[in-house]
Amino acid sequence: MARAKEAIVFCLDIGLGMQTAAPGYPTAYDSAVKVLSMLIQRKIFSESKDEVALVLFGCEETANRLADTDDNSYQNVSLAYPLGNVSFDLLEYISYSLKPGTKVADFLDAVTVSLDILYNETKSKKLNCRRIVLFTNFSHEFSNDSLDGIIGGFSADGMDIDLCVIGPEIDIETIGLNGKDETNDEESLKDEPSTSTSLPKRRKLNHFNPSIDPNTGKPKTCQQMAGEKVVTKMFNGGVNGECYSFSQATKAVTGFEKKSVRSAAWKCHLTLGSELAIPCVAYAKTKEAKLKQTWKKCHAKTHKTADITVNQFYHVEDDQHTEVEKENIGKGYKYGKDIIPFSSEDDKQMKYATEGKSLSILGFTDIDNVPPNLFVDDQALFVLPESGDNASCTSLSAMVLGLQKQHLCAIACYIYRKGTNPKLVALIPHITEDNICFVMIGLPFSEDVRTLSFASLKDRKAHQPSDKQLQVMDELIDSMDLSDKSNSAELYPPEHMLNPYFQHTFQALYRRSQNPNAALTHTSDNVSTLLKPNNDVMERSRVKLEHVQSSFSLQKQVWKKDADLKEAWKKVDIDQADTQGSSSISGLQIAQISVPTVEKVGTVSPDSDFIALLSNAEGSAIEEIFKQLQKKIEEFLGDPFATRLENKIIVSLKTLINHAQKHNQRDNVNKFLHQIKLRVLKMPFRASFVENNIAPIDESVSAEHFWSDGDRAADRQEDEEQEDDEQGADELLDMMD
């Protein structure tokens, strides 16, 4: 991943005009600072080697090279941070030390100062890109006397400098049409898609009046319009660059960054049969990004990594954990239950060998046979023709277009390099206005796919939505449309959404670096809103949501602990037990006639066995029958599937208690309850026992009280906490990999 190096001058307007805003809107100054610090933050955490400088204008002081030579010009423009690598100092300065200015200054002066810096500082450096990022809302006077000279300055000496403007919503089209350079403007718009550096297409947001600055909610002044006109002129005059509004901050950020992460090229020949080979090159287009650094362990007191020595050792799983010397360690594989010793030599000799990198087509298949749900691995690559080879380009494009027309894609075998295992990939035609290429994505092998099958939804009468329910769902979907119909921009576009986890981590790192001893605060707004429901959408769909809610019957089941699935079963069982309880007894009496006499309390229906036996028993036999049921209950409690037997346990216990008085077995039963108490408390039965009012008879102890025990409860909680910890540790490992 070759990283391009850039030099950037951030040129920030802190003048008086930046500090006003309609009530409820942030000032342009605040917005600008926010975007700027985000940019710098991300530069730091992407380990950028870019060099940046900060020029302020509209400030009290004047400190720049040009003003040194000319006392009257370039006033109130100051170089606050000389060109150099990004650092926390710069971030700190912007976040804490920077104060709004008290003066006004000409933004063209500031641009000139920035140009001067780039010329003087970077002339001899090897850079991929030079750039000026201008933050202003154009509310100050300027003199465009030397505009042509400035425009020329952007490309003088073969030093192409880009200009980025982050400010009010500039409607280039409108300005262009009113301005003089109409023809030029149209041409540049036409060229747009072909070159990545030209102006991005601007969308007119229909609920914004173009003459109102959406950032501050105030009408644009003539001054601002004039400023914007100048910028348009600069772009039309040949300056490369882009415009972003403050509200498009994330767009701006990603716009910068994409240019700095480039994929390594993978050159190969796309082959078909023994005769056809097309030179091509693959680049990762999408690949799950990871944090640039891993976490290193350090000593808690000294914060030094060197103060920890990692000691690894091997041991056999016996009682003594007998250590095994490193020399005696061999390699093996598990084969089911057995271990097969398998040396690295064996492995080398016998493993599947591949000859070298290749991308060979196995055949072509209908594009519908490779739906996105089949894709595996964490990346999608673009396969392009070899650069500068027209024949490669023609053949690859013809193949892509031919497949597209036939509604096909290619299935190929991909070997990254000699020795790596082959992978199956799909080569899917990708055709945009200007580019024709393949998208290459991993496909699963037979060992990788899980065949899923679920009960049909159509056959299940109980779950058929009614026509009305379908209707409200239909309306809800319409009301929550996120696509860019009706002129408003598409919401949640992947290309411009920042990963909130990264943002959050960056913030935490930054805060900790500023203040090593302070506890971390919670997610800041700009992170948590990244993936939150959009207020406009929610407002639009509020009524429909209510309709859906009232049309469907949704009953949340009661959960003690959300993660405990066993609890789910229990709950369902108890509900059923309650309704069935009475009927099962009457049912039993009928059944008794035909069923052979019960001889002892069995496992299947211990409660009815018990009742049946009791009905004929006398004297000491009664005590014996009680014992039998108690024994069964104990068996159930000891069963590995005890939680699944809860229903039986409860019914048995209830039966036991209900019959105790009549048969004079109260003390016996109470004693038994005390006996099993500890065991029960170890199991997740407490709530249902309380619910069913299972308690010792006449002991004036409520079930609630009986089935609780201060110490046990505390233990249980501790257990749970420990579990959480363990899970956490695993995740941490995942993360550190």
């Binding site: 056999v316 072509f364 990346q379 023709p385 979907i477 941490l732």
Partner: protein, 603 residues
């Protein structure tokens, strides 16, 4: 003692990243096969006269074990013969012989199966005997005993009965009743019962209907699985590979509408099981443990003595482990529908960043989930839209943006088997951070219609129906065949069919003429793609400043001072580490950091 052994932090991290979203292991799947050993099972079938039903069953189980070793070697299996004279069961039931106890497959269980594959009735009789009197209730009882006795935590539990007679207890109502009660016991323990037979006249009504259907179960009773028996192996595999819910999560629409769905894995790279370390003297597994020692005092450090650190822009930033975990807690657990987009606009092939998942409603947490889910599915299909959601898979995993892609149920009209289940695929969308810029050549020549047509003619010749099931992973297969050969003491590992190697002969034969026509259409005369590319390649690398510098010739200090270490290979960097005695491990960036630190300190 325990204090010495802390979690092994290093791990073999190659696969872990992928498992992150997949979920945890909730117990083992277990299957018991109960095989009727009556005469008919050893008789040759008229049409399929090569193998007896018994042989076919054993062969299928054998093949399935071999597959399980690769795909899920933690699953438990057991085999019961019933209708035998000899007994071998936990409760001394007569006519029941537990041939293989519930356990994970082992070399012995596989060799035993292999040896059993060709057994005939006479041999079987000498070994196990034959007795037509048998109690199905005891078969069920023994199965439950086997499942209960295991010390492993079980997830899915199944009993698969292979039998012949569809009414084993004809005229004996008591025996029927007992069997039914025992079967209900199994259902009560969540054991799924399947009954299969090679008997063409087999009916479920007389007896087995009540055995296999659990009155509480929602699954529609599958009337005739005998049809599926044509391919017993794949049928067993399907039955025995339970789809595990990796989690049950809430799905929210707006703030107040909440349903519950189960999340399932769709596809996931199967890799070789990681090699384990063994004690060469005993061939016992040797566990690797790591402890951390205070370099200065030599004392063993407790987890609380260790913090985690990263160095950014020259600042060392230190956190507690818990703090790092908490950084991941951003979103609320579950799927949150943000809105809807047209399918074609929201789901693009090149957006792919992660394996997809599947969701299907469950009623246990929110009653009514299925109906709402069904309505959503119907409408998303009709309108061809996807639901865009923020997705927090676990309470402490960072959120992702996903699209819910509706999948209609598809049934094979011939076999009435389900091809695709109804539900939504969870398609992961990239963040801006994941998308990279790829530069295209500005002015590419466009192919002519003739050229495109030549391509069309060519690709039409080589069409096939892709199905992932038809491609085995040759590397994995080779590995396991090797292991198998060593484990089962075969002389040579079995050859594998490698479907990833293109069959150039067939391609040339089928489409040779069209390939030539295509080449003529697109390549200028005399164009040699192979020659040109290599030439191009060497010239391009040369222009970039020649070969990579040999590390031993490199002035490391110069590289450090110019920040050019990144140009070296990892191999080269590690060499530098060795040479200067620098502790450099981990990612390339980490090694570079270590080297830079070393030299800046020296200075």
């Amino acid at each position: 003692m325990t204090e010495r052994f802390y979690a092994d932090d290093e791990g073999d991290g190659s696969e872990e990243e992928e498992t992150l979203a997949i979920g945890q292991f909730g117990g083992r799947d277990s299957v018991i096969f109960a095989i009727d050993c009556c005469r008919e099972m050893f008789e040759l079938d008229g049409e399929n006269s090569e193998d007896t039903p018994f042989n076919r069953i054993i062969e299928a189980i054998h093949d399935m074990y071999l597959n399980k070793i690769i795909t899920s070697d933690k699953d438990l299996h057991g085999i019961i013969f019933f209708g035998t004279k000899k007994n071998n069961s936990s409760s001394d039931f007569s006519n029941i012989y537990v041939w293989q106890k519930l356990d994970i497959p082992s070399v012995k269980s596989i060799t035993d199966l292999r040896d059993m594959q060709k057994i005939n009735a006479a041999d079987f009789d000498t070994q196990f005997g034959n007795e037509s009197n048998k109690q199905m209730s005891e078969v069920f009882w023994e199965s439950l005993n086997m499942l209960s006795a295991t010390s492993y935590k079980l997830a899915a539990k199944s009993l698969i009965v292979f039998t012949w007679n569809d009414n084993p207890h004809f005229g004996d109502n008591n025996a029927k009743k007992r069997a039914k009660t025992k079967a209900q016991d199994l259902h009560d323990h969540d054991v799924d019962i399947q009954v299969m037979s090679f008997n063409k006249n087999f009916k479920y009504e007389p007896f087995y209907k009540d055995i296999i259907s659990d009155p509480d179960s929602e699954d529609p009773f599958n009337e005739n699985p005998i049809d599926c028996i044509q391919n017993l192996y794949s049928f067993l595999l399907k039955k025995c590979t339970k789809q595990r819910t990796s989690s049950r999560i809430p799905l929210f629409i707006g703030d107040d509408i909440e349903i519950s769905v189960g999340v399932y894995t769709v596809a996931r790279r199967t890799t070789k099981t990681a090699a384990i370390s063994i004690d060469s003297s005993s061939n016992q597994e040797a566990k690797r443990s790591t402890n951390f020692i205070d370099t200065n005092t030599g004392e063993i450090l407790l987890p609380s003595d260790i913090k985690l650190m990263q160095t950014w822009a020259g600042k060392e930033i230190v956190f507690e482990k818990e703090e790092i975990q908490n950084m991941r807690k951003i979103g609320k657990h579950g799927l949150h529908v943000l809105g809807f987009k047209p399918r074609s606009a929201a789901v693009k092939a090149w957006y792919h960043v992660r394996n997809s998942q599947f969701i299907y409603p469950n009623e246990e947490r929110v009653k009514g989930s299925t109906t709402l889910f069904h309505a959503l599915l119907v409408k998303c299909l009709a309108k061809d839209v996807v639901a865009i959601c923020s997705y927090t898979a676990r309470p402490n995993s960072p959120p992702r943006c996903v699209a819910l892609l509706a999948q209609d149920e598809e049934i094979n009209p011939e076999t009435s088997e389900q091809i695709t289940p109804p539900g939504f695929y969870v398609i992961f969308l990239p963040f801006a951070d994941d998308i990279r810029e790829v530069d295209f050549e500005p002015e590419q020549p466009k192919p002519t219609n003739e050229q495109i047509e030549a391509a069309e003619n060519l690709v039409r010749k080589l069409k096939f129906t892709y199905n992932p099931e038809s491609f085995d992973n040759p590397a994995i297969q080779t590995h396991y065949k090797n292991l198998e050969a060593m484990a089962l003491e075969k002389e040579q590992p079995d050859k594998i069919d490698d479907h990833t190697k293109p069959d150039t002969e067939i391609i040339d034969k089928k489409a040779g003429a069209y390939i030539q026509a295509f080449k003529q259409a697109v390549f200028p005369p005399g164009y040699d793609p192979l020659k040109k590319a290599t030439k191009h390649k060497s010239s391009s690398t040369a222009s970039k400043g020649g070969k990579k510098p040999k590390e031993d010739m490199v002035d490391v200090k110069e590289y450090v001072s110019q920040g050019k270490l990144g140009k070296l290979t990892v191999q080269g960097l590690k060499e530098i580490c060795r040479k200067y005695n620098i502790k450099g491990t981990g990612k390339k960036a980490d090694i570079i950091q270590a080297i830079e630190d070393h030299f800046t300190q020296v200075r």
